[in-house]
């Protein structure tokens, strides 16, 4: 694959791993999530240019919209969890109870 493709793959993979293996803060997880969105945005943008299909130029914009919503949701969750748990330290969170 080309250098471009490899950079998309590696960014996505690295930020996935970063999402999974963060250490302490929820906000770093959200940042990694943003990086994943970013790499997907750039990949989606490169795609119609390479394939010369200009009708799919819409796709990155759509994705960006949803990405923004999701970022907002994530930040809202961050704020809510800081309200209830006192900080955004991940080891305070438990999946089984709020």
């Amino acid at each position: 694959m080309t250098l471009l493709h490899m950079s998309f793959y590696s960014t996505f993979t690295l930020s996935c791993l970063g999402l999974a293996f963060h250490r302490t803060h929820l906000v770093s997880a959200l940042l990694c999530l943003e990086t994943m969105m970013l790499s997907m945005y750039i990949a989606l943008t490169m795609w119609p240019i390479q394939m010369q299909t200009s009708s799919q130029t819409l796709l990155p914009i759509l994705m960006l919209t949803f990405s923004a919503c999701e970022a907002g949701t994530g930040l809202a969750l961050l704020v809510a969890s800081t309200r209830t748990h006192g900080s955004d330290h991940l080891h305070n969170f438990n999946l089984l109870q709020c």
Partner: protein, 605 residues
């Protein structure tokens, strides 16, 4: 005149007379036993038992009595049958004569014992069970007598039961005898299964009997007659009083094993394996016991090892397929061995309990009768020509030299014969002659008729018995008639060599230098290292083995590791691993998320 009737009746009368002191006190309250009555009972019994023996010698009459039949199973009935043949009719007077002398001696020896009547009753019970063993015609009655003598041996060895060594020795005797009993019971079971009988007359079979039941018989003889391997109980049994040692462990009980082999001889006299086994076992026992006797310092232990050595010689005679010679040796050996024990008892009592020969000496002038009879007994033991021991011992050694046999057995037996001379001379010189080593204020008095009469009676027996028995009993197997001169005098030569060696060594030992230890001396002193080796190793291995099987294998392994608890523990381990994912931590959740993403990415290739 119906000789058979007189024979049978007088034998049964002998046994009944012996039972009288036991039954009469139970029937009426006024009759009490005393040592004197029991001694007189045995004397009467001896005199009565001379009648059937004379009848047998005169006309060759043999008797067989069926008293009652125990209908055990439908086709297996056990009669109480008594066999009065050459062996039993000859041994009865001998055993009763020796017992009478010993009981008379015991009235003096145990005079200070508060329970002397119980002692005499025990000795009488022992005598009765021994005679039951001798006269038995089937293995069941013999087994009753066998167990009876074992029990009485236990009770009598631990007579002074306040002494821990006496109790240990009694338990040791019972344990070793029990191991022999396993062999006897095994053989009886095999016989009951195969031949459906325990009668002696039906014991010889035409086809070859397999070796295993006969090995059981040899094991029984090894246990009861203290052959090598099951021998330690005999020296330890010297913890009992001297009359016990004289009666049980020299003349009568220990010959029960040999007597069993004599009685069941038709079973194995064509089985060369068993005969060779008896030969080699006997040769080994006789040499081992003679080696151990060389360095003993306790007079009773020397005589005990001497008994063990002579028992080995009897076993050698059985191995040569000469049971009559073994029986002859049993008969003559009873006389001089009992007398040796009685002499040692007299010496011990007169020295106020001293049993160490290093602390005796010069007793010839102080106890003339006792020491003279001790010398006669020792000469008879060594096989001096024409004393009692000569007739049996010399015949056995002549037959050894002229038979086709294992030369190792021959060598061992000859060596043991010379060792016999060595330790006998050692004991004689240290006890009787030389300088006096006893404490100065030792009042000695042997002038009691209860001491002198038994000892001199047995001395007379030691001198005459061999000649009397061989002149009146024609041999059933032809003895070897011609042999070269050096074969003929082999026994005398090795004995003379032993005597010269012993005298030379005793001269060396008069100087008071403590000699250095060397391995041979240590071997002899520590009885061949047999006792600590077997008593520790065997027991340790058996106990660890049983612990492994019972505790480790069953409890821990099958129940805990592989069974129910093992299942539980393996499930528990798996569950613990799995529940770490259920803790609700975001980290684990995101970790599984990353894992799935990685798998997805890799799978696109």
């Amino acid at each position: 005149m119906d000789l058979t009737l007189i024979l049978t009746s007088s034998t049964l009368l002998t046994l009944t007379i012996l039972l009288t002191p036991i039954i009469l006190p139970l029937l009426s309250n006024s009759s009490k036993n005393t040592p004197t009555t029991i001694t007189n009972t045995v004397k009467t019994s001896f005199l009565v038992s001379l009648i059937p023996m004379t009848i047998h010698l005169y006309s060759g009459t043999e008797g067989l009595t069926y008293l009652w039949e125990w209908k055990f199973l439908m086709n297996f009935k056990i009669p109480i049958s008594l066999k009065m043949d050459f062996y039993s009719l000859t041994f009865f007077p001998i055993a009763l004569f020796v017992s009478w002398s010993i009981l008379q001696f015991a009235t003096w020896y145990m005079a200070s014992d508060p329970h002397i009547t119980k002692f005499f009753t025990y000795l009488l019970l022992f005598l009765i069970t021994m005679l039951i063993l001798i006269i038995a015609n089937n293995l069941f009655i013999l087994f009753i007598g066998w167990e009876g003598v074992g029990i009485m041996s236990f009770l009598l060895i631990s007579w002074w039961h306040g002494r821990a060594e006496a109790n240990t020795a009694a338990i040791q005797a019972v344990l070793y005898n029990r191991i022999g009993d396993i062999g006897l019971i095994f053989c009886m079971a095999w016989l009951a299964y195969t031949m459906n009988t325990w009668e002696m007359q039906q014991l010889s079979s035409t086809h070859q009997i397999p070796t295993l039941p006969l090995l059981g018989l040899v094991l029984a003889a090894t246990g009861k007659s203290a052959q090598f391997g099951l021998h330690p109980w005999l020296p330890a049994a010297m913890e009992g009083p001297t009359p016990v040692s004289a009666l049980l462990h020299s003349s009568t009980m220990v010959v029960a094993g040999i007597f069993l082999l004599i009685r069941t001889n038709p079973l194995f006299n064509n089985n060369q394996t068993i005969l060779t086994l008896c030969l080699c076992l006997g040769a080994l026992s006789t040499l081992f016991a003679a080696t151990c006797a060389l360095t003993q310092n306790d007079i009773k232990k020397i005589i005990a090892f001497s008994t063990s050595s002579q028992l080995g010689l009897m076993m050698v005679a059985i191995g040569l397929n000469l049971p009559e010679l073994a029986f002859l040796h049993i008969s003559t050996h009873a006389f001089f061995k009992a007398m040796l024990f009685l002499c040692s008892g007299s010496i011990i009592h007169n020295l106020n309990g001293e049993q160490d020969i290093r602390k005796m000496g010069g007793l010839q002038k102080m106890l003339p009768t006792t020491t003279s009879c001790l010398t006669i007994g020792n000469l008879a033991l060594m096989g001096t020509p024409f004393l009692a021991g000569f007739y049996s011992k010399d015949q056995i050694i002549e037959s050894l030299n002229t038979s086709y046999l294992n030369s190792w057995a021959l060598l061992l037996t000859l060596l043991a014969t010379s060792f016999t001379a060595v330790y006998t001379i050692r004991m004689t010189t240290l006890v009787q002659s030389g300088f006096v080593r006893i404490p100065p204020l030792t009042p000695m008095n042997e002038n009691n008729p209860a001491v002198i009469n038994p000892i001199t009676r047995l001395a007379l027996g030691s001198i005459m018995a061999g000649m009397l028995i061989t002149s009146y009993i024609p041999p059933t197997k032809t003895p070897p008639t011609t042999m070269p001169l050096n074969i003929k005098i082999t026994a005398l030569l090795v004995t003379a060599l032993g005597i010269i060696l012993a005298l030379e060594l005793s001269k060396m030992a008069q100087t008071l230098i403590i000699k250095k230890q060397n391995p041979l001396h240590n071997f002899s002193t520590s009885l061949g290292y047999f006792n600590p080796l077997t008593h520790r190793f065997n027991v340790t291995h058996i106990m660890t083995g049983s612990q492994t099987i019972a505790s480790h294998l069953m409890d821990l392994s099958w129940y805990k590791l592989l069974g129910p608890e093992g299942l539980a523990s393996s499930q528990l381990a798996a569950t613990k691993l799995a529940t770490s994912l259920h803790s609700g931590s975001i980290k684990a959740y995101l970790g599984s998320f990353a894992l799935s993403i990685l798998i997805m990415i890799i799978s696109t290739y």
